[in-house]
């Protein structure tokens, strides 16, 4: 162990003397720079001399303290004399002065209220809306070129994304669907039993799954699973300048990157939805049987309740959800900044927006279905 670092300020007739004693090493935790400079500022003398006669070992802490003292002297119009400070420390001090400090250009940013009055949130919202329309337009144009067979989309990519979004998602969709079917059955069972109408649990589960829960739950799963993955993939490509490379090769990133991803989701989502319908209804069966509804009665009830129109309403929803998830995920990725933090933000934005849009779209669908009477 070394001697503890200390300092002492003597305000004499011949000027101020700053005496540094002991080992000024970072691991010895020397006195804070604020303490040193504060006691310097109280002095009346107009000249500071550093006295290092009792100084032991030293490292950067000494240099940074000296640097702070010099700045404090400059502030209070005091002369700074490094005195017998170690030669190495003075050389380091000089090296740190070699480049003049940079002054950050001041950007005038008005206060929050002024910005609010100037309509900044509205402008930002409109900008965002225009950008979203722009993106949607580009996607539509790309789809048009795809139909004409002129889009630069690789079939391999499409198949790869279908594989990722479809078969690889079956496990989680299975688990969630069966559980949601059971939850629906439990939800209805208590009420229906009071009326002695347990038999209708089949209708409840079947209609609930087919019209509402299957598209919504697969949507939420795919938003968290695939939408987030798209945002992270494209965001990382943006940080690694891969998207720039695609653009400068004369290929539209929308056609090459966004289209296969969105198409894959749109193709896969209805299938996942129907798969989820079936599993949800099966998931409700054990609960119904526990209420003395037989397997046959349950299946017959479900079969009678569900018509092709019901299935179509759910599938239509899932198609729209696929579009929304793909679009929000890809857009967040394409617009991603160029740092690792930006990729994280893009992923968050993708998932949150996708889920918000899912719920809004679901509500809209239900209103329309209600009006149409289907």
């Amino acid at each position: 162990m070394g001697t503890p670092p200390r300092f002492e300020v003597v305000d004499g007739d011949s000027g101020v003397v700053l005496r540094l004693m002991g080992d000024w090493l970072a691991r010895e935790t020397p006195p804070g720079v604020d303490d040193v400079t504060a006691s310097l500022r109280q002095c009346a003398g107009r000249r500071l001399r550093v006295d290092c006669a009792a100084l032991g070992q030293w490292d950067s802490v000494l240099v940074s303290t000296l640097r702070a003292c010099r700045a404090a002297c400059l502030d209070s119009a005091m002369d700074f004399d490094p005195g017998d400070a170690p030669d190495g420390a003075l050389r380091l001090l000089a090296l740190a002065d070699a480049v003049a400090p940079h002054r950050r250009p001041v950007s005038v940013r008005p206060g929050a209220i002024r910005r609010l009055l100037a309509g900044e949130p509205v402008i930002a919202f409109v900008d965002e809306l225009l950008l979203a329309c722009n993106f949607a337009g580009e996607v539509v144009l790309a789809c048009g070129r795809l139909v004409c067979g002129r889009a630069r989309m690789r079939m391999v990519d499409l198949l790869w994304f279908v594989q990722q979004a479809g078969p690889q998602a079956l496990g989680i969709v299975t688990l969630i669907s069966v559980l949601v079917g059971m939850i629906l059955a439990y939800l209805g069972s208590v009420q229906l039993q009071q009326l002695g109408a347990q038999i209708y649990v089949a209708d409840l589960v079947a209609l609930g799954m087919v019209r509402e829960m299957a598209p919504l739950m697969t949507g939420v799963i795919m938003a968290g699973r695939t939408g987030a993955a798209y945002a992270a993939q494209l965001g990382t490509m943006q940080t690694r300048e891969e998207i720039d490379a695609i653009e400068t090769l004369g290929i539209s990133p929308i056609e090459f990157l966004v289209l296969p991803r969105m198409l894959a989701l749109v193709l896969v989502m209805p299938m996942l939805c129907i798969y989820s319908d079936v599993l949800g209804i099966l998931g409700g069966a054990p609960v119904a049987m526990a209420m003395d509804v037989s397997w046959g009665q349950y299946l017959a009830g479900a079969q009678e309740a569900v018509t092709v129109t019901h299935i179509a309403t759910g599938v239509a929803k899932s198609l729209a959800f696929g579009l929304l998830i793909g679009a929000t995920g890809c857009r967040a990725g394409i617009r991603c900044g160029r740092s690792s933090e930006a990729v994280g933000q893009a992923t968050t934005v993708a998932v949150v927006r996708a889920i918000v849009w899912l719920v809004i779209a679901d509500a809209a669908f239900n209103i329309v279905y209600q009006r149409l009477g289907i």
Binding site: A26, R27, T29, P30, G32, V33, D34, D59, S60, V61, V63, S64, T65, R67, A68, G88, R91, L92, L95, A96, D97, A98, V99, A100, P101, H102, R103, R104, G337, R338, S339, S340, E341
Partner: protein, 257 residues
């Protein structure tokens, strides 16, 4: 070399990725205060050797000694203590993009010392000034150029006054002027702070400008061919490949003693 000047010794090191041998039979010594260059063609394992030296990878065989103590034989605490005496700058800077430059440099200081907030701030300002970035405290890494990011990485590496500075391709992606400024900075650090510097590079200009010692790794034979001062090696290495590398592929480089 007498043992008082020996700082790092690599003994019988063998590196592999899975079953693929990258380099084997590496034996060399770095003296205190050396600027030691690890050189060789692309893909010969330069960066991999650096990562073995700083303990990111475990060697298949052999050891690396720091001040005569084997890193591989040391326990977790001893290893951490050794690592604390090193400063490492990575190829792309390795700065944390979610933190300002000041926060980046302050991180090791707040983790390993008990300096108060004002002292840390003053240290950070001094370290940034040392690498020529005074006044850039509040910038995020994405707001500054590649050369500045490397210098900011260096400021973080020297935050704790390391004994050894490791650089992975310091001049990759820098223009000749910035790269020379960085070289000069490395020399000044060595002269003033008295640190030992280990650099991975294939920039000949900077090898001849700053290196006092070096090792040449060969991609063909998967071992080191020669070690010594690059100027000496260019003049009198017994291996044609080393002379050719240092003469930028000029096969008529002087041979023999």
């Amino acid at each position: 070399m007498d043992s008082a000047r020996e700082h790092i010794r690599v003994a019988g090191l063998e590196m592999r990725y899975g079953t693929r041998v990258i380099q084997s039979g590496l034996d060399f010594t770095v003296a205190r205060g050396d600027i030691f260059v690890i050189m060789g063609g692309s893909g010969c394992g330069k960066s991999t050797l650096l990562k073995h030296m700083i303990g990111l990878y475990e060697p298949v065989a052999g050891e690396v000694f720091y001040n005569g103590v084997s890193y591989q034989d040391s326990g977790v605490d001893a290893r951490a203590a050794m690592r604390r005496r090193w400063g490492i700058t990575y190829q792309a800077g390795g700065l944390f993009s979610a933190m300002t430059l000041a926060e980046n440099v302050a991180l090791p200081l707040t983790q390993y010392t008990s300096l108060d907030v004002a002292s840390v701030r003053e240290m950070v300002s001094y370290k940034l000034a040392l690498v020529g970035l005074a006044g850039f405290e509040e910038y995020y890494p994405s707001e500054i150029s590649g050369g500045m990011q490397k210098r900011a990485g260096l400021a973080r590496a020297i935050a704790l006054d390391p004994e050894i500075l490791f650089f992975d391709e310091p001049s990759a992606g820098l223009d000749p002027v910035s790269s020379r400024l960085l070289d000069e900075l490395i020399m000044q650090m060595r002269d003033v702070l008295g640190v030992t510097v280990v650099i991975v590079t294939h920039e000949l200009a900077s090898i001849f400008a700053i290196a006092s010692n070096s090792v040449y790794l060969d991609a063909e034979t998967r071992t080191m061919l020669d070690t010594g001062s690059p100027r000496e090696l260019l003049r009198s290495s017994p291996h044609a490949a080393v002379r050719r590398f240092l003469a930028r592929g000029d096969a008529t480089a002087p041979a023999g003693p």
